[in-house]
């Protein structure tokens, strides 16, 4: 299995996302025993300028059509399909992010290659590549075999070390002139994040509530605790979707990435999309009624119990201590 591995460089508004380096590291690992070349694919008018940062790849393939400056998946799909054919690439790695969402499925439909989602581990097994995916909110893993290491994989953010994908080498740059179709789904503009009343990324203590908090009234209890602690309340997606807190308080894949000194997680299961946004907190204390909740696998401290009961008790204790 010596077909090339392609890595799609992920950018949003000119910023190269960390997932790019995580994928390059993963690609190097997958390539190692099979001597496959690794090509980074960079799209858009600024793409060539990124090459110096992509030294972990053997070469950087650049398509600098202005249409590709926009976050339109359609154009990216068309270009990637052509590159896969031209380079006889057997494996394509994509970021498991909202930016690259849907690319893999559509390319799989067009190339008939197998697509593996939520990939967080990889090993070779003879000629095959075995990918491990995380399913059911992190409660189940599944191993999939790609014969001859051929397929398309969406790489779970944070699963592979980014450092393995950084290098000082200068890779060869190859410009490709490809047909870029005008997308039917037309990008119009970015909508900036709502400026919230508080910036949860700047708090040293966060009281986070999930679906287990059960009601808007109970969110108020958490609000009181946050005030006592001098921090702020944030939440998982279901709480935001219920309209109990504004979007500016959402932590996770679509929301904010936070790194407080203490993250108190009440009634949050620890789904990968939430974990994404808070895994680097210095100390994570999780309270959940389910002793098997995935959040206990990553938290520093855990309590099996009812958040609604514990929050006011904790608030009292801290008040009492303050005197």
């Amino acid at each position: 299995m010596s077909t090339a591995i392609l890595v799609l460089v992920e950018q949003l508004r000119g910023q190269v996302a960390d997932i790019t380096f995580e994928m390059l590291g993963a690609a190097r690992k997958m390539a190692a025993s099979a001597q496959r070349p690794v090509h980074a694919v960079a799209l858009g008018r600024d793409a060539a300028g990124l090459a110096t940062r992509l030294g972990a790849a053997d070469s950087v393939l650049v398509v600098d059509d202005p249409v590709l400056d926009q976050p339109t998946a359609e154009a990216a799909v068309a270009v990637l399909q052509q590159i896969m054919e031209q380079k006889q690439a057997g494996l394509l790695l994509l970021g498991g992010t909202n930016v690259s969402f849907g690319l893999g499925t559509r390319l799989a439909a067009r190339t008939q290659l197998p697509f593996v989602n939520f990939c967080k581990g990889a090993r070779t097994d003879g000629d095959a590549l075995v990918l491990t995916s995380q399913l059911f909110g992190g409660k189940i893993l599944s191993d999939v075999k790609l014969a001859q290491g051929r397929g398309i994989a969406s790489i779970y953010p944070g699963a592979f070390p980014a450092d393995a994908g950084r290098s000082d080498k200068t890779p060869a740059v190859e410009k490709l002139a490809l047909a870029v179709p005008a997308p039917k789904v037309v990008f119009q503009q970015y909508i900036e994040p709502e400026a919230g009343d508080v910036d949860i990324t700047k708090q040293s203590v966060l009281v986070a509530v999930g679906r287990g908090i059960q009601s808007a009234d109970n969110v108020q209890l958490a609000e009181e605790l946050a005030q006592t602690l001098g921090g702020a309340v944030c939440a998982s997606r279901p709480v935001i979707d219920q309209g109990w807190l504004p979007l500016s308080r959402q932590v996770g894949k679509s929301g904010m990435t936070v790194k407080p000194r203490v993250y108190l997680a009440f009634g949050i299961s620890g789904a990968p999309e939430h974990w994404d946004g808070m895994q680097n907190s210095e100390c994570i204390i999780a309270v959940n009624t389910d002793p098997k909740a995935p959040i206990f696998d990553g938290a520093h401290y855990g309590v099996v119990g009812d958040a609604v009961e514990l929050i006011p008790l904790l608030n009292e204790k801290i008040h009492a201590k303050k005197g």
Binding site: L12, P71, A73, T97, N98, F101, G102, G104, T105, R106, A108, A109, R110, F115, V116, N117, Q134, L135, F136, K139, I140, L141, S142, D143, V144, K145, K184, V185, F187, Y190, I191, P193, L229, G230, G231, R237, D241, Q242, G243, K253, S254, G255, M256, R261, V262, S269, E282, C283, I285, F296, D297, G298, Y301, G302, V303, L313, L314, K317, I318, K321
Partner: protein
Amino acid sequence: MNLYVLLKMVPDTVEELNVAGDNRSLDAEYLRFKLNDPDEHALEQALLLKEKHGGTITVVTLDAPEVDDALFTALAKGADRAVKIPADQAALGTIATAKAFAAFFAALPAPLAADALILPGSQAVDDLEGEVAAYLAELLKLPYLGVVCGVTAVDGKVTAVKEFSGGLRGRFEVPMPAVLGIQSAEKPPRYVPVAKVRAAMKAAKIETAAIEPPGPARALDLDHMYKPEPTGRARMLEGAPEEVAARITEVLAEHGVA
């Protein structure tokens, strides 16, 4: 507008999940099912569009445990028709599921109109092979956008908002007919009283689509499924709630908080 909402039942991940004897599926015995979260939002988005622009909402599903409840609930909320495709979802992966839906849309008496939107949920917790929405769009050769969190329609075109990260979103113009994978609706999904669902059960009917069930089950060579080994397990604080609260207070103090 002609609005089609696809509803999928998924295992409730709050329950304990076990791998079945075949090592390739979940043990069905203790599974509890619920409607995929994004589908609640897809239905809500459809209801909001219907309220504004009129039209009909058809909810479509494959056969799955407890799916009738979800269909009657959708009817009670304001969907006009509920259709079941006679194929067991448990046996099908994403690609086969998308093919089943493609067959359903191909068999409609008239082609999808210029005011038609297909609204699946953006994603589900078991999407090993990818998202049905994107695959279906490919099969039907329709425009597609995923992780959508808002849809408005003006003059035969829809504007859809897609989520990126960090609260950043993007606005896109989408020609109809199209497939939009809905992540969240503009408003929280509405609540419908049980009495109304009961009334729907009495008054409404679930139709069965007359299409051939799809072929091969799964495209991927799934080797096996297993439960993760707990990596760094949290230090569990035990005792009565009072004691636990006291221990947390100490931990907070150790970290210079409170």
